[in-house]
């Protein structure tokens, strides 16, 4: 939905996203504490993370590299000088009483990201900035009616906040944007993109306006943790705003929360309650100065990214836009595809992966790295199809067995005698038998019921156990039915 049809006419949705991506790093942004997910509460907390008196932050160079890498992956400007600021507020899971973030001078400036639209076209979404910041700890409210418990394992973990321009016009675009960010982060290895574990989450800024008009007042929906919730929250919020305006009220700028249970957003805090974070440069940290050499060195580590891959698949491998998009969406899939397509027909490989393999993976709730059909094995199957050892139909049957057992295609075909029958004599015999059994159908066919040709083919294939070469069957049948 990109246009809302209200009582007073059409409304356009304007969306900007703030994505929070946890950097893949063994230690935290300003301390040596570990970052492993799911550890015992408060077992990965250094003196710095707990803000003990006199403790000082020291920047983790690896996290800086990851941020630069991500910036490069988003075609963004890398700022050789950036500054860490303190964002001051009190909360029990924020030990320092401030979050170290970057406010006026982020490490990464303007960039762009291209999303794929449903009609096969693309759209460029502007990236405003990417900055580094610390995560807060976690407040646990379920252990006691009176007290909250605090787990500081997450406190101090490095986050990248990636802010987009308000360039998206539908919840679909927002979803695609999120998918593309996730893919790029995974390709780069700078974030695992796991939304369930919270390593990737986002806030959505949503407003509505008359198409092409002045921007409306926006509301920020906090902490959306799945692509489904992003789209649902945006849709609800946009409708809500249109209804408000059309009923003569106005949208007030505020922070809202999305309730996945009721599918609604509700007020978290209004603009009047907005906190004054009293940002100022953190005097414990010097400005972060990078050299161009450092950036250039990281540039060399950047792998081929989804958009480049997609272009190559389309241009060099003749894949359709759709197949290419599907295959590059996930780095593991792309790698899998490239291994399969290495010396077999790329289009055939793409079809088999996107139709057959994905279908079965979904059904069995498996990922591509878990399947027993390794790229080599799938290639083996495609070879048998290409050299006419088996038909496409038999191949599906073989594929099912492979999926279950992980056996080689060739040995399944061998063992079960599934080789295609290409011996004309044998095929002729089957055809003769079918024709002999259906004299009245032959008469009907000859009197003009052309559709019956398919019936004869079907019967022949059935009788041959699907093994007869379909082309030969067609050819011989035609001759016999003249």
């Amino acid at each position: 939905m990109s246009i809302i049809k209200g009582k007073t006419g059409e409304w356009e949705i304007v969306i900007g996203l703030e994505v929070h991506a946890q950097i893949s790093s063994k230690s935290k942004l300003f301390s040596g504490a570990a970052t492993e997910f799911g550890a015992e509460p408060n077992s990965q907390v250094s003196l710095v993370d707990a803000a003990m008196p006199g403790m000082l932050p020291v920047i983790n160079e690896y996290c800086v590299r990851q941020a630069v890498k991500t910036g490069l992956g988003l075609n963004a400007k890398i700022n050789l000088k950036s500054i860490f600021d303190r964002k001051n507020y009190f909360y029990a899971d924020l030990p320092q009483g401030y979050q170290i973030s970057q406010f006026l001078d982020p490490i990464v400036g303007r960039g762009e990201l291209v999303i794929d639209l449903a009609d096969g076209s693309t759209k460029s979404i502007g990236i405003t900035r990417l900055h580094l910041e610390q995560d807060a700890g976690k407040s646990l409210h379920e252990h006691s009616p009176k007290y909250s418990y605090i787990d500081l394992n997450r406190a101090g973990i490095a986050l990248m906040e990636i802010v987009s321009e308000p360039d998206m016009r539908s919840s679909y675009e927002a979803g695609e944007y999120m998918k593309k960010i996730r893919a790029i982060l995974r390709y780069l290895g700078s974030c695992d993109g796991d939304m369930e574990k919270g390593s990737l989450r986002c806030d959505a800024n949503v407003s509505v306006r008359k198409p092409g008009g002045e921007l409306g007042t926006r509301c920020e929906i906090k902490n959306l943790n799945s692509i489904r919730n992003i789209t649902r929250a945006i849709d609800y919020e946009a409708e809500r705003q249109v209804e408000l305006i059309e009923s003569g009220q106005s949208v007030s700028q505020e922070t809202r929360l999305f309730d996945a249970g009721t599918n609604e957003t509700r007020t978290m805090r209004s603009k009047e309650d907005a906190m004054d974070y009293r940002y100022f440069p953190d005097p414990d940290l010097l400005p972060l100065i990078l050299t161009q050499e450092f950036v250039d060195e990281i540039k060399k580590e950047i792998p081929e990214l989804p958009d480049q891959k997609k272009a190559r698949y389309i241009n060099d491998m003749n894949l359709s836009n759709y197949d290419a998009s599907v295959l590059v969406a996930d780095q593991e899939t792309a790698e899998y595809f490239e291994l399969v397509a290495k010396d077999s027909d790329a289009k055939l490989a793409a079809n088999w992966i996107s139709a057959e393999l994905f279908g079965r993976l979904n059904k069995n709730n498996q990922t591509i790295s878990e399947t027993k059909i390794t790229p080599d094995k799938l290639r083996g199957l495609l070879v048998l199809i290409s050299n006419n050892t088996i038909s496409g139909k038999i191949a599906k049957q073989v594929f099912d067995t492979m999926f279950e057992t992980g056996e080689d295609a060739a040995s399944i075909v061998e063992k079960e005698g599934l080789q295609q029958v290409t011996d004309t004599g044998a095929i002729e015999a089957v055809i003769d038998s079918v024709l002999a059994d259906n004299p009245e159908k032959i008469l009907e066919y000859k009197s003009g019921k052309d559709k019956l040709f398919g019936f004869f083919v079907g019967q022949v294939m059935k009788l041959s156990g699907g093994k007869a070469n379909p082309e030969l069957v067609n050819e011989i049948l035609k001759k016999k039915l003249i």
């Binding site: 020291v58 001051n88 009190f90 029990a92 401030y98 940002y279 414990d284």
Partner: protein, 490 residues
């Protein structure tokens, strides 16, 4: 036996090496003196057992010929420095009985050179003050009295306990911290030497933060030579502090012997302001004369933005403090005053209301205000700009001179029962120390004479960034010329 605790650090070190007495004896002599001078309230915690244990090890090292730079020398530590397994409070109620599990870098450097910890000294709460009247543990007394008076005087602040301890021979040296003058001003009030090195020379790791861009550790001793020894021990790069300089530590003790002939000493004309007491003004001139006699050239210089230093300082320091002190929230350590309504916000309010004293609260409020939306540009940003101009003034001056001579404080020590209604009057005590702090420069206060009332007065030498050697060299000459006689004891 002679009072060995009254020796200088250097002579005690030599005597220990020669075996004239043992480190344990030296330590016990200090512990006895501390016992007899509890009234000064210089120490808020005595670490007797640790002291005896360290001294015993020192004796073994000396005996084995492995004496380190400060082997067996008893020292005091300002309670701002975290000491492992020893209560550290910054003299604030909010820290309760907080006992760190870690050691600050500067204290661990001291212990690595063989120094012996006697205890933790009193200070203004979180180093905010110029009188030591803001400590949760009560005020410190200046050992000195005005001629013919029994009136109790302040030792200055914030490192008042450390200053009083060194003055009254309760430690051979003491650690202090200087944000806007917290070492130099009390050194001046107590008639001892106090030196703060350049910002970045000493690691701030484990030193409770007041104003991160200004805080710097430093030392109190009874003479310039001792200051060079102790300072050399605590300086040096530390990867745990991102603002710590990576420069090698200069050989400070050796630097003292140098000549100052031909050196150019600057006299900032703006420091000769109205309201400066005539005796301070006279002492300053005398100091210049001494240095001239030692062969230096006296040059008038201009530091035109100095007059803005005080307001700039009282914007930047409280701003940083308001954020630095946010961690004292009752959640993880120290004092917690629970809320009867199970409200987190109320717990914060109650804890911080009870835990912080009036001066700390005042500065948190000022700092919060100047960082607030709508005021940030007018106050904080402007103050940072002026701070740069002040640093620029010094840079220009050091293009012409090798060091700057100035008074340390505008007066001698004042009475502890003084009624100051306007906090700005108290802030004016740091008028001569703050400019160099804002520029991060190394400076020292050397006792140079007595006021008309018989109270000590100090002169300040300010050096170029990271040029501690020149500061000490000039200070040494000043000390020789002044021939100041320290506190004689009761």
């Amino acid at each position: 036996m002679t009072e060995i605790h009254k020796l200088s650090l250097k002579s005690a070190r030599e005597a220990l090496k020669k075996g004239e007495f043992q480190a344990v004896e030296l330590t016990k002599s200090h512990l006895d003196a501390m016992e007899q001078n509890k009234g000064l309230n210089a120490y808020i915690l005595e670490t007797r057992d640790i002291a005896i244990k360290s001294a015993t090890i020192a004796d073994q090292n000396i005996k084995a010929g492995n004496a380190r730079a400060m082997e067996g020398i008893p020292v005091a530590v300002k309670d701002l420095f975290c000491t492992k397994d020893v209560r550290t409070t910054a003299c604030s109620q909010i820290l309760g009985n907080f006992t760190p599990t870690y050691e600050s870098t500067v204290t661990s450097k001291l212990w690595q050179t063989g120094a012996v910890m006697l205890g933790k000294t009193n200070m203004d709460e979180f180093a905010m003050g110029s009188s030591n009247l803001t400590s949760f543990y009560g005020p410190v007394q200046n050992p000195w009295k005005a001629t013919g008076s029994d009136k109790i005087l302040v030792p200055g602040g914030s490192s008042g306990g450390s200053a009083a301890a060194v003055t009254a021979y309760l430690a051979m040296g003491a650690l202090g911290s200087d944000t806007g003058g917290s070492i130099r001003q009390p050194a001046s009030y107590c008639g001892i030497v106090g030196m703060k090195p350049s910002y970045g020379r000493c690691s701030r790791y484990g030193m409770m933060a007041f104003s991160s861009s200004l805080d710097q550790a430093g030392v109190f001793t009874r003479d310039v030579t001792d200051a060079s020894i102790m300072l050399e021990a605590i300086m040096g790069h530390d990867s745990k502090d991102s603002t710590c300089a990576t420069l090698p530590v200069p050989a400070l003790e050796k630097a003292l012997n140098g000549d100052i002939k031909g050196m150019r000493i600057g006299i900032p004309k703006e420091y000769n302001m109205e309201g400066i007491s005539p005796e301070i003004s006279k002492l300053w001139q005398t100091g210049a004369k001494w240095l001239k006699e030692a062969g230096a050239e006296i040059v008038e210089i201009s530091l035109p933005h100095s007059k803005y230093a005080l307001p700039v300082y009282y914007i930047i320091a409280p701003a940083e403090a308001s954020s630095n002190l946010s961690r004292y929230d009752g959640v993880r350590y120290g004092l917690r005053v629970p809320s009867e309504n199970n409200s987190l916000d109320e717990m914060y309010e109650l804890t911080r209301q009870k835990g912080f004293g009036a001066e700390v609260k005042r500065r948190i409020m000022i700092g919060t205000y100047v960082l607030s939306a709508g005021y940030y540009d007018a106050y904080y940003i402007k103050a940072q700009k002026v701070r740069n101009l002040i640093a620029e003034d010094f840079k220009n001056a050091f293009a012409k001179v090798d060091a700057i001579l100035a008074p340390t404080a505008p007066s001698a020590a004042f009475a502890a029962d003084i009624k100051i209604d306007d906090p700005v009057t108290m802030y004016l005590n740091d008028i001569f120390t703050i400019p160099a702090s804002l520029a991060g420069l190394p400076c020292i206060s050397v006792p140079a004479g007595l006021s008309n009332e018989g109270l000590p007065l100090g002169l300040q030498i300010i050096g170029n960034l990271f040029d501690e050697s020149t500061v000490l060299k000039v200070a040494f000459k000043l000390e020789q010329a002044a021939n100041f006689v320290g506190y004689k004891g009761k």
